[in-house]
Amino acid sequence: MSLYAPSSPHIHNDNSITKIMLKVLYALIPGILVYIYIFGFGVAINILLAIITALSCEAIMLKIRQRPIMPFITDGSAVITAVLLALSIPSIAPWWIIFLGTAFSIIIAKHLYGGLGYNPFNPAMVGYAMLLISFPQQMTTWQLSTPATFIGLPDSFKFIFGDHTPAQLATDAISGATPLDYLKNQLGLSHHVSDIMNSSNVFGLLGGNGFEWISIAFLIGGLWLVKQKIIHWHIPATMIGSLAAVATLFYVIDPDQYASPLFHIFSGATILGAFFIATDPVSAATTAKGKIIYGACIGLLIYIIRTWGGYPDAIAFAVLLMNMSAPTIDYYTKPKTYGH
């Protein structure tokens, strides 16, 4: 009689990729709910569209690549990519934006590189960068962040699928530049930061009006992920920390020209990026020291691009740039082995 004799260890905990991805999704829920509460149902429709596109593309690619479909389609990674991309684009963008972006993320940035675990770049951010470069107008027209612009479900549908904006909602009245974009433009016209902030209702208490609350919700979800040990504290802490540090430095030097560190942290996608995007394990640095360097460099790059670069927000480019450097960072930050 010959028994089954595999190599040790013979037991395994019940962790799985699906469980990890599900927890990440749970952590995104508070932010998504606040988003819907403030801006209406556009984002929800986008998320659904993105998930459907992502899973379809994933299935097709797995089929083409002759990989087993069930274990990979249920791992949840494509869903995370879809949700992150949907959260990054304007909630009133036409449907083909999210469709193109998600398809690009899954097909080009993920599967052409070898699928789950093999993509050197964060797929959602590759999709985002492609969209931002190809369709700058659609990608920078955001809903105005005042409670008056809450868009209900039917109108959201019209925005996303319709050819025309709903009659009662003139596009100009409900959409405009994001707070970061607005600030950048106004600074270009040599206004002072404090004057700019007082002059427009796009700014709120901490960052962009409305966006700040979404950020706080994402922060809560992110902290829960750290507590659940799904992500490590290193990347979010050092990313926000370094962004805050440089912002403080310039703010102290000249508060008229440079926005406050709080504004930088709670505007744009800083919090979402710190806890959910930069922490993507596949494309990030993996050693403890490496994560610290990786996070800090992203924070620094965000500030540089926001302040002196050509784009108002910079999460995608900062993350993609650091994705490139991750293997090198890992190589030089090997931990000291026991007894060495």
């Binding site: 395994h12 905990n13 799985s16 090997k334 026991y338």
Partner: protein, 572 residues
């Protein structure tokens, strides 16, 4: 008193499953019909049999002796007749066959006459203690099976500051040390005192995981009786692999065993509680090591610990625990984390067998690996690695067979504890990859050694051919010289007249001179003798004899060649 424990990096919390096998007191297992005793129950050279088939042996009689320094003898676990000496399957991951002595017990279980040293071990010299321990066949019972007498011999210059008694037993399911500490705490402490004396250790720490409250109590009680201020029972946190030697040393002392080094290099010796009890029995009662506590756990009707004679088949033990609860799928020797699965059920218990774990698909925890997904570099593995490696990097390199890179990432520091594997969300068999990489590296090293030897041989061959060519050329030159001299001589004889007697002398002188030159050249080219540093007297004698013989041969060759030269001259 120990003031502070150190927390080693990593580790995992695993459901322990230790209650079920600690319900019943330990009883001796019944003597089976046949005992199969492998000659390799330890690390090192296999023991050499000193009995013959058909011979009658008594319980405790030595049946195989240690062969070399790192080796251990084997004793008969009961009285009986040697039935066979031959190859049987070993409890080894490879399932290989090796030489075993098979005893057919006679049922009398009659002891050989024993000589103990009760009470007076302190009068014995540490080296005498070591000799008794060695001849009693005691090896580390924690799992590695390293001969204990060697561990007790740190060398004259080493000071052993701390002797750690390892009662951590961190693997799930295994409870044999736990039961031993509960039931035989006095024996353990006595053995500890002997070991302390043998090592001249300054202090002893008995480290037990804090989930074994009864064992801790029992050991504390026993330690109190002996009233040695330098013995202390310490409860350490329950986290796997707290009982691994490197980790337990760090927990107690905060020191790391240097790479490629031994614990005694940092003044620490670590010993398993079972080994210590065996030391006590060897010194006080003169009993050799013939049995041990073994946990039979998992899917058996009555999981428990038994005191098992070495050579007893796992199958017999499962029967004594009421049999398995369903059809056996896997049988694991050792714990679920580091033990190895066997292909068959009839393998014998040896000195290092601490647990027999049966998987019949009934215990949810023992489920087998799910579908393996790709690595997502989540780093959970690095978080739990107790030696601070980067398991996922090792995995990538191992998969790509980048053997140089994987060594750069210290694959040989991996203790194969399985923590990374246990937590991997992709369920990748990581440890298997590291084992593969290690064996590939060993294979490559062996091949390099082989090809080095072949190259050396080839180079020497080439050297010999060149030398022979040079010698031939030299001979030719000599001939020519001789010819020249002869010519001169003939010229002279033409001038002076016939003078045969004088003729030979200058020729010979020229030849001798030429031979001298060859000799000098040879001496210059002479290869340095290899491996002559550590020769025994006998070998040295052989070498001088051979040298002499060679010298003689050389002389006869020289005279022969002289003769040849003469003959050549004559022919000319």
């Amino acid at each position: 008193m120990i003031s502070k424990l150190f927390k080693f990096k990593g580790g995992v919390h695993i459901p322990q499953h230790k209650e079920s096998s600690t319900q019943l007191a330990v009883e001796p297992a019944s003597i089976p019909k046949r005992l199969i005793l492998p000659l390799t129950q330890h690390i090192g050279t296999p023991a050499a049999p000193i009995v013959e088939v058909g011979q009658k042996v008594l319980k405790g009689e030595k049946i195989a002796q240690a062969d070399g320094y790192v080796s251990a003898p084997v004793h008969a676990p009961t009285s009986g007749i040697i039935e066979d000496i031959g190859d049987y399957p070993l409890p080894h991951p490879s399932g290989m066959l090796a030489q075993c002595i098979v005893i057919k017990p006679d049922g009398e279980d009659r002891w050989i006459e024993l000589k103990g040293h009760s009470g007076d071990y302190k009068q014995l010299d540490p080296s005498e203690l070591r000799n008794i321990i060695r001849s009693s066949g005691i090896v580390g019972l924690g799992g590695a099976g390293f001969p204990t007498s060697i561990k007790h011999n740190p060398g004259p210059d080493r000071v052993i500051d701390t002797l750690i008694l390892n009662g951590a037993e961190c693997e799930p399911y295994i409870t044999c040390d736990d039961m031993l500490m509960r039931e035989k705490s006095r024996e353990i402490i006595c053995g500890l005192l002997i070991t302390k004396h043998a090592l001249q250790a300054k202090r002893c720490i008995i480290a037990i995981e804090n989930n074994k409250t009864l064992a801790i109590e029992s050991m504390q009680q026993a330690a109190k009786e002996f009233a040695d201020r330098n013995i202390e029972v310490v409860a350490i946190p329950t986290v796997y692999p707290a009982g691994s030697e490197k980790q337990i040393i760090y927990t107690i002392t905060g020191k790391e065993t240097p790479k490629n080094g031994l614990p005694l290099h940092i003044g620490v010796v670590c010993q398993n509680v079972g080994t210590t009890a065996a030391v006590y029995r060897a010194i006080h009662h003169g009993e050799p090591l013939i049995s041990r506590y073994v946990t039979i756990a998992g899917d058996v009707k009555q999981p428990r610990n038994l005191e098992v004679l070495f050579g007893t088949s796992a199958n017999d033990l499962i029967e004594q625990c009421g049999g398995s609860t369903a059809d056996i799928r896997r049988i694991i020797i050792g714990g679920p984390m580091m033990g190895f699965a066997m292909q068959q059920i009839t393998i014998p218990v040896i000195k290092t067998t601490n647990c027999i774990l049966i998987d019949a698909g009934q215990t949810k925890d023992l489920h087998t690996r799910q579908y393996t997904m790709p690595c997502i570099r989540c780093d959970s593995c690095a978080d739990v690695c107790p030696v601070n490696l980067l398991p996922q990097q090792l995995y990538w390199f191992s998969k790509a067979q980048e053997l140089d890179r994987i060594q750069e990432y210290n694959v040989f520091d991996c203790i194969e504890c399985g923590c990374c594997d246990y937590v991997c969300p992709s369920q990748i068999p990581l440890v298997q990859y590291y084992r593969f990489a290690k064996s590939e590296i060993w294979k490559r090293e062996r091949e390099t050694q082989k090809s080095d030897a072949a190259r050396d041989r080839h180079e020497f061959h080439q050297f010999r051919i060149d030398r022979e060519k040079a010698e031939k050329a030299e001979k030719l030159r000599q001939k020519k010289a001789a010819l020249k001299i002869k010519k001169q001589a003939t010229d002279q004889s033409n001038e002076i007249g016939n003078n045969d007697k004088k003729e030979a002398e200058p020729k010979n002188a020229a030849i001798v001179a030429a031979m001298e030159r060859v000799k000098a050249k040879k001496a210059q080219q002479k290869v340095e003798p290899k491996n002559t540093d550590d020769l025994t007297d006998h070998q040295k004698k052989l070498v001088t004899e051979i040298d002499q013989r060679r010298a003689e041969q050389r002389e006869t060759q020289v005279s022969n060649s002289n003769d040849n030269a003469k003959m050549d001259n004559k022919e000319l």
